[in-house]
Symmetry: C2
Subunit: 317 residues, 2 copies
């Protein structure tokens, strides 16, 4: 570990918020500095409870997270939030108005909120988000709320291994949105019907219960909660349900999630590193560009080109 990384790690562990912010930026940039830093603080992480909050666009996740921050603060907890936002080359960053609303907690020294950009290559977002969670964990924020839009494989992968996965639904969205939700239904530990004062809440609950009867019989049936996050209704019930779920699921389940999280991260880091190395060394004379050109011109195909690289690879025991 270099002196710079050691110093930054020390400042982060001692509660320096600016050091934490810089550390997260470093893991987002995916350079050697971020990796060194993560290695330095990693032994201090792993204590915090990670709560994943996911749902379709427009389901009010951010308002819900905002209220959860307030509820955990009222219990004296230090709350960390990692929000995975769509971003744009046009705006240069997150453009969610919701994010602005959360600024009421911006001056609270015991709340740390960070938006991750969704740009970059496959798998990188999941890796960087998990790194940020560990940094917040090492800085002794607990619980950690991880908010993602519940669509897209990367986004699902990020919350899947949280200690408790909360899936947020909302009454009266179209078929298309219901379909999106289908992809995340199976990862839920708890369901929240948000905007529950809207027409269709009862029907959504019935539909959901029906769908759950089709699920695996072995696992505990996830509870269904109702909230109106913008008015703060049902938040205490949700906090209690999360606590009950964590209690009920027990240490074995928690250890299992942590193993899944470790596996997912190891694969992500290894994948990024090995691909970088193969791009640099794996393609012989002409390199990657020539291989691509030959595929584009139909002189070879992706499978044969990949095979040629694999044939050059040796793994010592």
């Amino acid at each position: 570990v270099s002196t710079d990384a050691a110093t930054l790690a020390e400042r982060l562990l001692s509660g320096d918020r600016r050091a934490l912010a810089r550390a997260i930026t470093q893991v987002e940039q995916d350079g050697p500095a971020g990796a060194e830093l993560l290695r330095a603080v990693y032994p201090q992480s792993g204590g915090a409870t990670v709560i994943g909050i996911t749902g379709a666009p427009g389901s009010g996740k951010s308002s819900l997270v905002d209220r959860l921050i307030g509820a955990y603060r009222a219990k004296g907890r230090r709350v960390g939030v990692v929000a995975v936002d769509p971003s744009s080359a046009f705006s240069g960053g997150a453009i969610l108005g919701d994010r602005v609303r959360m600024q009421q907690h911006a001056t609270d020294p015991d709340v740390f909120i960070r938006s991750m950009a969704t740009r970059g290559h496959l798998g990188g977002l999941s890796r960087a988000t998990n790194d940020a969670v560990d940094l917040l964990d090492a800085a002794r924020y607990d619980p950690l709320l991880v908010e993602t839009v519940g669509v897209g494989q990367d986004e699902v992968e990020i919350v899947r291994t949280a200690d408790c996965v909360v899936v947020v639904l909302v009454p009266g969205m179209g078929d298309d949105v219901q379909a999106i939700k289908a992809g995340i239904l199976e990862i839920a530990d708890l369901y929240v019907i948000n905007k529950a004062d809207r027409e269709g809440a009862d029907r959504l609950q019935t539909d959901l219960e029906q769908m759950l009867t089709l699920g695996p019989k072995t696992a505990a049936r996830p509870a269904i909660l109702r909230t109106v996050a913008v008015r703060g209704e049902g938040i205490d019930g949700l906090v209690a349900a999360i606590a009950a779920w964590l209690e009920q699921s027990g240490p074995a389940r928690r250890a299992e999630r942590r193993r899944e999280r470790a596996a997912s991260r190891l694969l992500a880091v290894l994948g990024e590193r090995v691909m970088a190395r193969l791009l640099a060394e794996g393609f012989g004379a002409g390199g990657f560009e020539l291989a691509v050109q030959r595929i584009a011109e139909r002189e070879t195909d992706p499978y044969s080109a990949a095979r040629a690289v694999l044939d050059r690879l040796e793994v010592s025991p």
Copy 2:
């Protein structure tokens, strides 16, 4: 190439629809059979124009695709469609009602529609979808319409390298949805404001034009079209705009997209293969599971564990 793959490839190339359906299933399953088949037909592919259609949930992409099928059929073209759908363990497959509406083309021998499941590991969906596109291309469907929900990195990656990328927007969706759209705005060659008879179409157009003025000045400003897909309005205009864009962007741009597509696919296939090999051979005694356990218990960290594998790797020149 095995006899089985050669036979199936031959049947596919001669226009046998059942062979084509089976071939796509094989590439979805990602076994050696799919790879062999793709290699066999790959030289016959690359002629078709690939049109990517993407947009937020609820933007009416499927209705639009349905109308585009009709329009291209009226010109005597054979149309292939690959739709990337959210899917669920509960339903066992796609549950989009929209898909049913497209069944009006189901009996037309010159239309081939296939839904891809979004399950499976990172990157696999993109690889399988591109394989399916090549199979349809080799079976001489042209144009090929690739429809994805424009959220999630995988989903964006799939359409990004199409010959023409159509981004579908819709008036009057919430902030959250607008944010989702932001991630796909930068990949658009053409914009469609669908459901343009709704309130807010003018405002959306103004917002969009404003946003485009912030984009890179060098590239041609994408055109903005208006449609009401369910009533078939604006479809001929869209078809003309797609043709104009393809004409105007020229062969150099087309070749560039094809190179990008080739690069993306090579990386996807190589990534899957190399990771499978490293999982089997890269972790020494104790294997992957022990490494994961040690990370979960904070005895090591993901970066150090990945480094240990990379140190075992040799790439011959």
